[in-house]
Amino acid sequence: MRHLLPWLAGGLVALAVPFVVTNSYLFHLIIIAVIWSILATSLNLVLGFTGLLSLAHGAFFGLGAYTSALLVTKADWNFWATIPPAMAVAAAFGAVLGLLTLRLSGHYFAISTLSFGIVVSLVLEKWDDLTEGPRGISSIPAPSPINLFGWGEISLESNAAKYYLSLLTLALCLLFVWRLVRSPIGRAFEAIRQNELLASCLGVDLVFYKLLAFALSAAMAGLAGVLYGVYITYINPIDAGLWNGFYAVMYIVIGGVGTFAGPIVGTLFLVTLPELLRTFQDYRLLLLGVLLILTMTFLPQGIVGGLRTLRQRWVAR
């Protein structure tokens, strides 16, 4: 139970944020970090727990964002009704990718996912009758208010409301991943991560579990995209591109692969760091590059991994 304490503490702090943080810039960074954390957590499901390096998650993120935004702005749907189709579209593409990459591993797998992601984002960009292409979708409205049947409404116009929505989503996703990893399905994932050949010899249905991992992970990434769209109010094919996919990988690796806190820590670190570096003006990105290299060299297991090692060493003293 002790290991739940940091989570509870973190949760309480997170809940208090809108009341404590008055600076809207800092608040914005926290909101966007929460949204990216959902993306990172989704990727962690395939990367950290199933051992599959996907570089396509930017595309799933974008698919979710576009599905929801298009349904709301062009077909006048209610925001809440767009969530299932957004997740379904992302999941479908995730399953397709899982199928296409079944026999691949290692770098072949990674680059194949990269290519898939690029194709998806290119189609989103070029098919502008459907998606408005490089114009992007602007003025995305806030989610419609939640009707509390007799007790009024919860409006979602304010940043605080959007924050709580994202936070709730993150919490649900983390809970889902946690339960999943501890279930027989999760054990199958772990087996695949450790040694695919051996796992299949032991009777693990590789096809089923890989597809499942991808579909679930993609659906979650799509959900992150949906939240991103309503928060930023503008989406563009760049958001579905490979940079978001790369950043998601970085958040996890820097944070600590295969841990639950890793993606969140990594996201917070990599969202705030470039902003802190703004004081260095023109040298900002250069310094970021240096820091990435230093982190990888001295903390090869990421921040959370590194902290764990430190704690073990300290306990062993």
């Binding site: 990459t101 680059i111 290519s115 820097i254 692969v257 090869p300």
Partner: protein, 289 residues
Amino acid sequence: MSPFLVQQIANGIMVGSIYALIAMGVAMIYGVMNVPDFALGAKAMLGGYVAFLLTATFHQSYGVALLGSLVAIGILGVGVERWIFRPLAGAPPINGFISSFGLLLIFENFALLAFGPSYRRILSPFDRDIVHVLGASLTMQRLLVVVVAIAVMIGLHLFIRFTTLGTAIRAVAQNRRGALLCGIHTERIAGVTMAIGSALAGVAGALIGPIAMVYPSMGENLIVKAFVITILGGMGSIVGAIVGGYLLGLIEALGAMYISVDYKDAFAFAVLVLVLTVRPQGLFGKGAR
């Protein structure tokens, strides 16, 4: 044969040559060091700037500029291997990937700071004359790109096959521990490989400079395609990288012509995904993975 078909094929071969050079660099470095060097595109960019400096500021000839970029970026590669990748030897390859991404940020922003964001033109004596081959128009520079790329490929092939150093490189690529047991200084080989791979990228940048101009972010598109090519050809296979490079160039050119020029960039990636479903190790990769 329609002159425009010839033109597209010629385009494809030229573009393919540049891709192939960088892909060869990726393949070599991956084969020996098991590290996906994502900064190789940025090294090509730096090679372009070196060539620009040599021709514009130091008024050297274009030939000197080509040689200069080769040497300068080769040396840079040695430094990168020594201080960036060697410390990461024991870690999973993904760490090396992220470090190389960090390196990309450093190179790009260094170039931005040093040279500013404007596009620079490298003046080459070959960029003025136009040659007509089977109805296609090619500047001499474009022809030069193909010629130099092929010369480099042949040179590299001979080097790998027939010199002691080349054999040592092959040994380390095949089995690092085995090579170590045979007395091969694997770290030095890593340095040499990185030097060669980087030099290839550097000269690619200097070659494409007169055609496409030099600017800080020019390496980004190149490196993504280079990675796709190395996988398509089979990771670690230099022949695969070459074939893959030309294949990609041609697929893009012909796809642009016959299917849709808007989706030009997508064809290469789509082809890769499809090829890998049928042949998971790439075209020339070793064994099923």
